[in-house]
Symmetry: C3
């Protein structure tokens, strides 16, 4: 029964995008539009045929968040915050009294004007990293690398690119799905003309946050791209005994250090001093719909998060277990992508760097389903099991590459 | 006859600078002045003795152009946009329905706060490059180089320096020439105290945009400087069969790749996939007035642009032919300078790095004459011929340096 | 007699911090507070039981100071300017018609958004350096160095970090001491969770600017820190024949170039072309109160500045003599710190890199006493003598490290 409900809701979630909508342009470089403070609600729009909701944009001030912007969507089920000035990243989701996201030592929403991605040998990205979901791409991703004498800094630039256009579109028809669209440009003369229309959809009445991004190569040349949807969760889901459910086809350790965690990849330690991070490279099965479901749940199994992604678009999955101390950043990453986290030169050698033809586009679809009851967790867990279908994961003991 | 007219106009263009003017201070770090939106017109000033004009300042928003500013001058003949926050660069000129400038994959006017000039091994400048004219200097210019273990990023910093003072001065007397002056500071403790007062003059009734910059070395030491006035034009002037007219004294290819284009240096291909760029180093003759005229014209010769520069101030000329595809950036550069585009260490070895004594100043003068009729093109073409005076260019087949 | 007065005043200066105060929150990233223009005065607060004072915050515009902020405190004795957007650095102090600070070729208060600390091989900091006091730390300090393949740029990042919280607290009780507090965060995932509450106190009626900073390691790991309070003075104190009085225990040249200046370390040349800088490493005695007093005075000894610091917190002192030409930056630095100015890897090898345990804090206390009469200079000079107590400094002729 529950599965059916979820399926119906998922369909709603998809269908809503197509409905007629009224558009609110909050940022537009072409028309020189930028609205610093803005709000709209079901009430202000005169909607009486569905649940209450609101969408609010705020400009942030002080420290390194001076000039950052934040959009918050509130529905009866969800509160979702995203950051137009940081690649439309999702800062956090709240649902049923639970916060989905994590606590980084970086506690401000850093304006990219204050970032230097190339510092610390290409680790500058860590100065701003605190989001529930960061787009790591699209020109490159992964650990810092060098190609042709040029540094490719950690996880690319999209997540530190302020959106050129931001549009909130709200469906005219109930249930009045809310779409927040943002245009992220990675344009460099001679190097890149990659533009991504990101879209985040929340439908009042549905406990789902849906991402539908379309990357387009606007150049006249084939262009490489890489993307990792770096999706991160800490307490309260993450705890000693928390578990991640993945329909694994094949799993291997990212590096030698992760070898010793391979047997226990599915369970989590509590905050552990000196743990740092263990990373696993995973190929997962997809269901008949082509989507791979993943569930991260707390020990008791009474809350968690489901991450679903289109496995044709995002063929590999990085599992990042950073169960170090709370103040160090106790967090795990469920990271569907086209690449693992190796530097681009390694990903290229191993054949995972994708290419887009001139004018071609590629969509990426990911969904986040906050699970706030034991039933919801169990329901999604069954979907993972159904996709795994009892098949035994292939466990490869040796890392596929030296970092 | 036409030559006479042009000559008279040129004189007017020069003389106007000296007239009494009313000054509008739009930016002044000393007085803490910054006016985000501003406009003035012949009408608002009560001028009835000359053509209509307006000058408008706008602050730009969204994406990486958040906080950029733009000043637009409109006269009966011209619309000129310049960018105070990017070294007072000229973004574009419009005249007679023709746009003079080019279309870069970088389609925003990037605030330098979002630039990292040192990225991609010193090619970060390409993240913002889309102007009709960029000042490439003054501390250094050219391709990225290293001296004493320090990276000198592509084309220096002036073009990514926000102006410290911006003054619009409008002559009291008809024809009410409009001067936009901007102060660009390249000040670094121990390294540089180079300040440049840039001045762009447009005279209502005259189809000329005049640049008169004065670089001053405010330090107590001799200081090196380099400058290239990187002036760039794409469609509609640039097309298959377009031609550039230069009174060449000597021409050589910048590198081995350009060797094969040497014979055809004067004509242009249409947008050509895989062409990338060919660059030629040119020494040109100057007329009796000391100025070198250059004409770039379309195939039919019914429109084009004339670039004139004081050859004593700017002794060398780089011709940059980047006739790659339209979306890659189909563009050619007419680039008078003190240096070619080699890294500074090469320019130094070859004796082209200039020096300014303590307190000394150096002026640079460049003019842009949009040519919107066949007569105008022919008139200026004759001036180029007159300077060349039938002398045969010396063609050197071998690049003067390895890049 | 004079010493007693100064001592009493110093006590007042310390005690004031504890009084009940009214707080004005000017910046707060948590509450999204940022007040661009603000002022308060004894009069506006209804204080009639003490001297007049005012505190004003201004936002700066134009050039690279766009978005910088400045707080100015005015009392009968002092005018103090500090820069919240640049690590709460002190820009200048004025007292008795004398300016305490210096004149750098960098004449704007640069917004860190326009800085690239890693440029010029890690010397980017020089693009913004013009303050009377810059905090050089806390993650690292000193000349650019490399550890584990990562560049540590000149003098760290605190001085180019915009404050996350800024609070002006004014004591309810006369003499209504004014405290400007600012929170500087150096937070990088995996690397640093160092937060510093800076506090600058000025008490109306007292000619003293007191710094009391508390650095806290918010991580769960021991973290290294380094700090240099880079305190800089030029004309009119600095002049030919000016003198610095330090109760030196041991002094050595920073490098080979400084060897030839060792004998004359205590006196200054006038502006001297080609001098560049000589740097001396000093261990100084502290008085019974644990503080080391230093006096810099002009030739006549009728004005100067006293710098006092807690020698247990800041065990070493760098004396930076940069008596080059006026326009090059004629300046001397009195720089108490935990480290000398060698790169971190050298400081580490020599045992001067400090460490903070998880959750631990470390205070740093420095005072600036403008001396505007011969009596004041003489009074403080006696305090230096008293601490030196006639002991002969140990002069070490050889630098302790190769840079």
């Amino acid at each position: 029964m529950k599965k059916t409900v979820l399926f119906v809701l998922a369909c709603l979630c998809l269908a809503a995008t197509q409905a007629l909508a009224r558009d609110f342009v909050l940022t537009d470089t072409t028309g020189n539009v930028s609205i610093p403070e803005w709000t709209v609600s079901a009430k202000s729009l005169g909607f009486t045929d569905g649940p209450a909701f609101s969408v609010t944009k705020t400009t942030l001030h002080g420290g390194k968040q001076e000039g950052s912007t934040r959009i918050t969507i509130v529905t009866p089920e969800l509160e979702v915050s995203l950051i137009p000035t940081r690649g439309m990243d999702i800062y956090e989701i709240k649902s049923g009294g639970i916060r989905f996201g994590w606590k980084s030592p970086v506690d401000e929403i850093v304006n990219p004007a204050f970032m230097n991605l190339e510092m610390r040998g290409g680790l500058g990205w860590l100065d701003g990293f605190n989001e529930m979901m960061v787009r790591c791409g699209y020109e490159w991703t992964g650990h810092p690398g060098q190609e042709q004498g040029r540094l490719m800094s950690l996880h690319g630039r999209a997540g530190n690119t302020p959106a050129s256009k931001v549009v909130v579109a709200i469906d005219d028809k109930a249930p009045h799905a809310i779409h927040v669209k943002g245009l992220i440009k990675e344009n460099t003369f001679k190097f890149a003309a990659l533009e991504t229309w990101t879209e985040l959809t929340v439908t009042p009445g549905v406990k789902c946050v849906k991402i539908h991004d379309v990357l387009t190569n606007n150049s006249d040349y084939d262009r490489d791209y890489q993307i990792i949807y770096h999706s991160n969760f800490g307490v309260p889901i993450l705890e000693a005994g928390a578990k991640v459910l993945i329909p694994v086809q094949e799993i291997s350790p990212f590096n030698d250090y992760a070898k010793k965690g391979l047997a226990d990849w599915q369970t989590y330690l509590g905050p552990t001093k000196g743990y740092d991070e263990m990373v696993f490279n995973i190929r997962a099965y997809a269901g008949k719909d082509g989507w791979t479901p993943v569930v991260l749940r707390n020990k008791a199994g009474d809350h968690g998060i489901a991450v679903r992604y289109d496995a044709a678009e995002l063929p590999v999955l990085t599992l990042w277990k950073n169960t170090d101390t709370l103040r160090q950043g106790y967090v795990t990453g469920i990271e569907p992508g086209t690449s693992y986290a190796y530097p681009r030169q390694i990903e290229r050698k191993q054949g995972r760097v994708k290419s887009l033809a001139p004018g071609a586009s590629q969509a990426f679809d990911v969904e986040y389903w906050p699970l706030t009851t034991g039933d919801e967790v169990a329901g999604f867990a069954k979907r993972v099991e159904a996709v795994a279908a009892g098949r035994t994961p292939k466990v490869v003991a040796v890392p596929m590459a030296k970092e």
